[in-house]
Subunit: 322 residues, 2 copies
């Protein structure tokens, strides 16, 4: 895993991924007590940064392997990212999803061209289903974060942050990244290490699912006791990945932990001040910047709004807090 | 009014305005039956393209005149655009607003640094109040659309559309622009005439307030009988401007007229598929692309989502239609 892989992924994604801008609002600056800059990856294809990793992984496969199709396990944003990336490459994707996944996400994944295989979380093994499908059909597994070309794809977001920070004269800043398994966080950290060494990444996590926060404190991989129980479903993972963890450990500052209510409040502010639709997990970094000011330092903070795939009912819950 | 003024405005705005991207979604393509490209000016500072015109006008004033301050009449997006542009130039802005303007817009205008002067629509004359303030305090009036430097500022949006269309290989397309007094529409039309002659502008208007549609049909300026009565308040004006009208007449194709319900449906699609917050008037062009397919032609249509300053209650009304 190195910066050259990220630069190569950026070349492959050029013209295919959305070059998202860097936004700001004086209203948010006032809440945070410093300049807040927002990287709106909710505007990325499929509504989250995951398209970058999916497209990077698909485009890195040799054509023969790619033609056989890919497979992914995901109930959420990774599913949609891989599905669209496969369609754009003229190949097929099988997405294995729990049968209790939100209907909208299942429908969207199908609409992007994927074959969705549902399984029962209680009685079936996702991995067994996946292994059987991969073997019989020759599909290549695209992991959600612990996969070099996926991390490289997410890292392209960091190259853009470095470029735009430079254009705005930002030389030193904290970059808060919504963190699940650490694909986006480690990718951005590697990109900034090379292109903007004055910018330091800090992960943002939901309360109760702060495996990365605790891992960074203890210096070794820690796991979450629970698997569900936050509205920030997009960034709930059991533990940091084997590939992402050493990068997080080497490059990241302490993680920030936000409550579900803070995530909802950040969604409301993103609606009101940025005109962005964000999902709870995608608003975690903004929540950390806005509502944990005393845990931050410096004049500038940059945050990812990493996804916007939210059901209307959840979005209305956020708006009701205004 | 010429292209060189737009290019000069672009140079002045560079680094101060948001360089908005061009977005798309296969879901919207399916609804429209052609490729739909979205210019999200709701992401512009102050939540609408109006910042471009305000900043352009302020930056074009000689420093001595500018230092005395500016004045604008507006209950909406123009007010916020001028207010922030004045603050960014270190000068003052007086915004004359009807006392029944939405509280959020009054508060936002004040928060951007302007002095808000309220008047009673029924008993007071906006123009008299403005004339008195201008005279006694030496303020320069910044008109919302019938002002060359404002049109030049809005035209910078067209330069960006031309640049991004070229990058996507789009040589011919209809560009539907949300149209009130015609500042954005005429500015974009002038920019495209110079930089992308295969792209032709068509205005989008709300039903009942289709003065530009009727003017383009009759070949002379027509007025709206009513002054209020559509949720698309941002693009309701009595008639096209004296400066904008000749440009609209020379360069625009027939206008498209959308209903309030279509604007709400377009807002819901922008939420779901683009992760954008749009206001009814800002979603009119998208509504025309999505729900008036038979009135459009060609493989590609480009639309402005020109503003996102919407109250949560109106936004919820749109979401309820999903």
């Amino acid at each position: 895993m190195n910066i050259e892989m990220i630069r190569a992924a950026a070349a492959r994604l050029s013209g295919h991924a959305v070059r998202t801008p860097l936004l700001n609002s004086s209203f948010l600056d006032k809440i945070a007590g410093r300049h807040v800059w927002i990287k709106p990856e909710c505007l990325q294809h499929t509504g989250s940064f995951k398209f970058r990793g999916g497209y990077s992984a698909l485009s890195a496969l040799d054509p023969e392997t790619r033609a056989k199709g890919v497979i992914a396990f995901s109930s959420g944003n990774h599913a949609q990212g891989v599905a669209l990336a496969a369609t754009m490459h003229g190949t097929s994707a099988v997405i294995v999803m729990p049968s209790d996944a939100p209907q909208l996400k299942i429908e969207n994944t199908r609409a992007y061209g994927a074959e969705v295989v549902l399984y029962d979380r209680a009685t079936e093994s996702r991995d067994e289903i996946g292994a059987r499908l991969s073997e019989t059909r020759g599909l290549t597994l695209v992991k959600p974060f612990d996969e070099p070309q996926v991390i490289a794809g997410q890292g392209t977001c960091g190259l853009e942050i470095a470029e735009d920070a430079r254009a705005h004269g930002i030389k030193e800043a904290t970059v808060i990244v919504c963190c699940g398994g650490g694909g986006l966080t480690s990718g951005i950290a590697l990109a900034l290490e090379a292109d903007a060494p004055g910018l330091r990444v800090r992960p943002a996590e939901p309360a109760g699912f702060d495996d990365v926060a605790r891992s960074l404190r203890s210096g070794k991989i820690e796991s979450n006791p629970a698997k569900t129980g936050s509205i920030c479903d997009a960034i709930i993972t059991e533990r940091p990945g084997d590939l992402t963890w050493p990068i997080l450990k080497r490059l990241c500052g302490p993680a920030l932990v936000v409550s579900d209510d803070e995530a909802l409040d950040a969604m409301a502010q993103a609606f009101l001040r940025l005109k962005l639709v964000s999902e709870p997990g995608g608003a975690a970094a903004l929540a950390a910047a806005l509502y944990h000011s005393d845990e931050n330092e410096g004049d500038d903070v940059i945050v990812t709004v990493s996804g916007g795939n939210v059901d209307p009912t959840m979005f209305v819950r956020a708006l009701e807090r205004l």
